[in-house]
């Protein structure tokens, strides 16, 4: 398929802009070289983007159990709320008393999210999850620095963590200490005790963790970290599994980020915009970044103006439509769906941890691969031929040949049954025609892109021939 730049025809254009009704103004400096913008008429543009839409698989097309990503269906009403002109037409520099409605959105959303997370303060500045982690760990750093405690140089991260956790700790100037998981997938308490000391700045943890297991020792874990003088950071990546049931604040965490785009319904996966709301306990509030739309002075700003404000609008609309009963019900159904699907698939593929899971589960295909020669990648590619988005592959790293499924609460029993049937079919196919699966997908627009060449010689910019 051609890029929009390649479809450009000199002189072709659309009459989308109204006639100028303000006096013309000459800029003091003008660009000398042409902009090279594509020249197309309206239907060229419309067809181009429609074609792109048809070539991808999104939550609006079908099942999308991409583990760890919470690809739930996003209710249209949240989009409608975010499209209200009172929100979209606001200028970032508008005086505070002219954007009272927007401030009210932030204050109300902060109140609800504090209630859900068990925190006392909230900022909507960070642009997404990893940015939220960065902000949260800076809170921890600021707390120690403000006390003159300079000896704390280490952040503890379990080996099942998302890669962004150690990256965040390193970006904040900390040494990362990896703690191994116990065989049950939870944090190994003895390994944690051995890692803790007067140099511990904090712990970063996702609970339920990346293999979909709620750590039964969570109160003991946070107690041990506090006892060593460190703080506890909650990565809200998996909050969808527990919201309305248990609060990170009550588990002993001091600060948290929540992926509003993920847990509270903003279409995501295409690179944003998202929002990584950061919450904290009372004693950290003084270090929160300030925002153009929130009360109080705040500390520094980690992003321009009010962050990705419209994502906050969607989150608030989502929370208000679900309400006090709906929020925990969404979590309950996310967990129920994951367990239902795991039980149905169990007859063929093997879960990495054979126990009740939370919102997601991991299949371990290492034995299956030894038996048939068919890898997790081959199965994932074959799922594309069956109209399903593949699960997350080869993650977490502690499981070999991993496939990680997160069906989310918005899928019906029929969808889950159908997915389980596809898995069963592929299990059988791997035993009769593994060769066919090595070359899957057979019916997709793109089969197996050359990831190695793409990583070694990336072409990230179009250049006019």
């Amino acid at each position: 398929m051609k890029l929009i730049f390649e479809k450009s025809v000199p002189g072709r254009h659309s009459s989308l802009l109204p006639a100028c009704d303000v006096p013309a103004f000459d800029l003091p400096e003008t660009r000398q070289e042409p902009l090279e913008l594509p020249e197309l008429c309206e239907n060229d543009v419309s067809r181009h983007y429609t074609q792109l839409c048809q070539r991808v698989h999104g939550v609006n097309c079908g099942f999308y159990p991409l583990g760890s990503c919470t690809m739930k269906y996003n209710p249209r009403i949240d989009e409608e709320a975010a499209a209200l002109p009172g929100f979209t037409g606001v200028h970032p520099l508008a005086p505070a008393d002219s954007v009272k409605g927007c401030r009210e959105v932030c204050e109300l959303a902060a109140k609800y999210l504090c209630e859900i997370s068990g925190m006392d303060g909230m900022t909507f500045q960070p642009a997404a999850g990893a940015h939220g982690e960065f902000t949260g760990v800076l809170l921890i750093k600021q707390y120690h620095d403000a006390r003159g405690d300079k000896a704390r140089t280490k952040i503890i991260v379990p080996d099942s963590a998302h890669g962004t956790n150690p990256a965040t700790a390193a970006m904040c100037g900390y040494d990362v200490v990896n703690v191994a998981s116990a065989p049950d997938g939870c944090v190994d308490l003895e390994a944690l005790k051995a890692a803790l000391g007067p140099d511990t700045a904090g712990l970063m943890l996702t609970n339920p963790n990346t293999v979909g297991i709620f750590d039964k020792n969570i109160l003991e874990i946070t107690r041990l970290v506090h006892e060593a003088g460190g703080l506890c950071y909650y990565d809200g990546a998996n909050l969808n599994a527990v919201m309305g049931h248990v609060r990170p604040g009550d588990m002993g965490f001091d600060c948290i980020h929540m992926n509003l785009h993920k847990t509270f319904a903003t279409p995501h996966g295409g690179g944003g915009p998202g929002a990584g709301a950061v919450g904290c306990k009372e004693f950290l509030k003084e270090f929160l970044p300030k925002s153009a739309l929130m009360e109080g002075e705040g500390h520094i700003q980690v992003r321009g103006f009010a962050g990705n404000f419209l994502v906050v609008v969607r989150a608030l609309a989502y929370l208000m439509t679900l309400g006090k009963e709906g929020v925990p019900e969404a979590s309950t159904n996310a967990v129920l769906n994951a367990n239902y699907l795991m039980e149905k698939i169990k007859g063929s593929f093997t879960p990495a941890f054979d126990r009740v899971c939370m919102h997601e589960f991991v299949l371990d295909l290492s034995e299956f691969k030894k038996e048939t020669g068919v890898s997790a990648l081959d199965v994932a590619k074959s799922l594309i031929d069956n109209g399903m988005h593949p699960p997350t592959m080869y993650f977490p790293l502690i499981v070999h040949e991993a496939l990680m499924l997160e069906p989310t609460e918005t899928e019906s029993r029929e969808t889950l049954d159908e997915a389980a049937e596809i898995f069963r079919k592929l299990y059988d196919l791997a035993h009769t025609d593994p060769e066919y699966m090595h070359h899957a997908p057979h019916h997709a627009q793109i089969g197996r892109p050359d990831e190695v060449a793409a990583a070694r010689n990336p072409i990230v910019r179009w250049v006019k021939a």
Binding site: G163, L397, V452, R456
Partner: protein
Amino acid sequence: MTINPDLKYTKSHEWVKEEDGVAVVGITDFAQDALGDVVFINLPEAGDEVVAGESFGDVESVKAVSDLLSPVSGIVQAVNEELIDAPEMLNSDPYGAWIIKVEQVNDYEELLDADDYEALCAEEG
């Protein structure tokens, strides 16, 4: 999978060979196979200190980023800069593509001989 009988090995799949008091370090055939196609490598600089059992760099494959753990403590004498432009040498010739040379070696990680390393690979494979 090949194992070179003349080398010593770490449990984390690096190999080491001592030549005139200098330790030459690379990753094993087992390691490159488990990693898959290597696309980037981060190397230390000559003169840097390395500590046995601790990271001295990392390799990125299409699957994951993995730390390189040093089999010895000492000072980096040289790094194989060819690998920066051609990290695929780690896949095609793991025992030829040395990564760093370490001098002033003063400590060792627990090292395995070829037989013990073969047994470890069999266990993990």
